[in-house]
């Protein structure tokens, strides 16, 4: 589980790493809109250029993005096959017995592949340069206006950050229970479906029971240290905007504007 690339923070120092999480989240949304606008290949080229510069600034390798994209390849291949059999417009590029491949089938699939690739690059850029906790803090600050509508923004952020804090602990716990069950003869790798289900149950039941115990302990610890949900607290980490954050947001806005022009004006 530890070799997941998608969504992993890469602890290096770059301008993008130091940017305010709020600015990065806002930029992500602006660029996501840009990716979904029907701007054609030129629009994609513009966004791709911007993201490539971003990757360079963040000192990330393209191979990392491609790795994150790998799990989606199967889906893309499936899409290509569907398109080959259903799309019958454009030039006939290839014909053999009952298989006729038209240009639009290939180009449409490619268009979607590129769109997805851009999205993966964009999200990787955010998650690789921003610690999960900073992300939470940024989201909380951005959601602040919603607190007026009685949305418990702070509690949501607290829940997310605790969940993030406990992911490694729970993974460790899972491994320990799996080893304990293996030593009692449970086989997690082989067997019929029925055997597999009972093997997984032997993992999930103790895992849940321990997780509830942890939750209870944690609630006690938080309460004993004076945490009251909804009460006013001071913040240890406060976010401050710097010039680099304004530059990031303006650049993202410019890219979005460019894409809008390409999509609707030209």
């Amino acid at each position: 589980m530890s070799n997941l690339v998608f969504g992993k923070y890469i602890p290096i120092d770059s301008v993008l790493h130091r940017c305010d999480p709020r600015a990065k989240i806002v930029s992500l949304f602006l660029l996501l809109i840009a990716i979904f606008l029907p701007s054609g290949w030129y629009g994609f080229a513009l966004i791709a250029a911007f993201l490539l510069i971003g990757l360079m600034i963040a000192k990330l390798r393209i191979s990392m993005v491609l790795k994150a994209f790998k799990p989606m390849l199967f889906m893309m291949a499936f899409l290509l096959i569907i398109n080959i059999f259903s799309v019958k417009t454009g030039d006939l590029w290839f014909s053999w017995k009952f298989i006729n491949i038209y240009s639009d089938a290939v180009l449409n699939t490619l268009y979607i592949v590129v769109r997805l690739l851009l999205m993966v690059t964009l999200t990787t850029l955010l998650t690789a340069t921003t610690k999960p906790l900073e992300l939470t803090l940024g989201l909380e600050q951005l959601m602040k206006p919603l607190a007026k509508l009685h949305v418990p923004t702070h509690e949501i952020a607290m829940m997310i950050s605790i969940a993030l804090r406990f992911i490694p602990t729970i993974i460790e716990e899972t491994e320990r229970i799996m080893n304990a069950q293996k030593s009692r003869g449970v086989d997690f790798d082989e067997g019929s479906l029925k055997e597999k289900i009972s093997a997984i149950l032997s993992l999930i039941v103790p895992l849940f029971s321990v997780a509830f115990q942890r939750a209870d302990d944690l609630a006690n610890a938080m309460e004993a240290r004076g945490y009251v949900p909804g009460a006013e607290r001071t913040r240890y980490k406060e976010l401050k905007y710097h010039n680099r954050d304004h530059v990031l947001r303006i650049l993202s806005l410019l890219v979005l504007a460019g894409v809008i022009v390409l999509a609707f004006v030209i």
Partner: protein, 274 residues
């Protein structure tokens, strides 16, 4: 003034017999009190009642003169802190720094003061070099020390250790016990340690022995550990040094030391005198 007064306290979990029945005791300000008992004796329930995590079925608790009730709870939380048994389940922040800050945030300490407070208390528990470490990269003993720093940073009058050393390896255990003892003697800090480690009880001022929800023995360690038979009857042992002392006493030889080393020293000296 007493730091803690407990009067006729009873508590029962749902559908069970009383976990605590009619428990009364006082804890002197600045003292070091150990509460000992085997599993299921009600000692952890008592800890949760004292820090206000459970509500008593009957009886009263006073913390620094304040009665334990809903409206006093925020004030009482400022006065009393607790370190729990499981090092992982009380680590709330994602780093040592964040974890110490958690309590400060709750107590509305201004952001500008937090860094210096965090550094001060991290240094006190010798965790100053690990401020940016994540919990999964720390040992159980280190996590417990962070928990102590987190509690002390809130400047409590009373600190409760609820079997804080029981999940640690021997080295971590020794280090933590030494640290707890080093806090003793500070007039402004009352220490209560709930434990089944009888060796730890030797170093306390007062011992309270619980069995099946009732106090069966109370007093200075040397008084409590004289009752070796009673202690064994309720499933507790006495420290080795007291075992030796009691044997000598039965033979009419008086020894004064509290630890095995002190007793050995005394015996050598009396041997060379004769």
């Amino acid at each position: 003034m007493n730091a803690i007064e407990v009067k006729n306290l009873s508590y029962a979990y749902d559908s069970q017999k009383n976990a605590l029945q009619g428990v009364s005791f006082n804890v002197e300000k600045g003292s070091y009190t150990t509460i000992i008992g085997h599993n299921g004796s009600g000692k952890s329930t008592l800890a949760k009642l004292i820090v206000g995590l459970l509500e008593p079925k009957s009886g009263e608790i006073y913390i620094e003169g304040l009665k334990m009730e809903e409206k006093n709870l925020p004030q009482i939380r400022n006065k009393i802190g607790i370190v729990f048994q499981n090092p992982d389940n009380q680590f709330i922040g994602s780093t040592v720094r964040d974890d110490i800050a958690f309590g400060l945030e709750n107590h509305k300490v201004p952001t500008s003061q937090m860094d210096s407070i965090i550094e001060q208390y991290a240094t006190l528990v010798r965790m100053q070099d690990f401020l940016n470490s994540e919990p999964e990269h720390l040992s159980g003993g280190q996590k417990q020390r962070v928990a102590i720093a987190g509690v002390l940073a809130m400047k409590p009058d009373i600190i409760v250790f609820d079997e804080a050393t029981s999940m640690l390896d021997p080295a971590g255990k020794e280090e933590l016990k030494r640290m707890i003892r080093s806090f003793h003697g500070n007039e402004d800090l009352t220490i209560i340690s709930i434990t089944h480690d009888i060796e730890e009880a030797c170093f306390s001022d007062e011992c309270i022995v619980l069995n099946e929800g009732k106090i069966v023995l109370e007093g200075k360690p040397e008084v409590v550990f004289e009752k070796a038979d009673l202690m064994r009857k309720i499933g507790l042992d006495i420290p080795f040094s007291y075992y030796v002392k009691n044997l000598f006493k039965a033979r009419g030889i008086k020894v004064h030391g509290d630890t095995a080393e002190e007793i050995a020293e005394e015996l050598w000296q009396s041997h060379s005198k004769n």
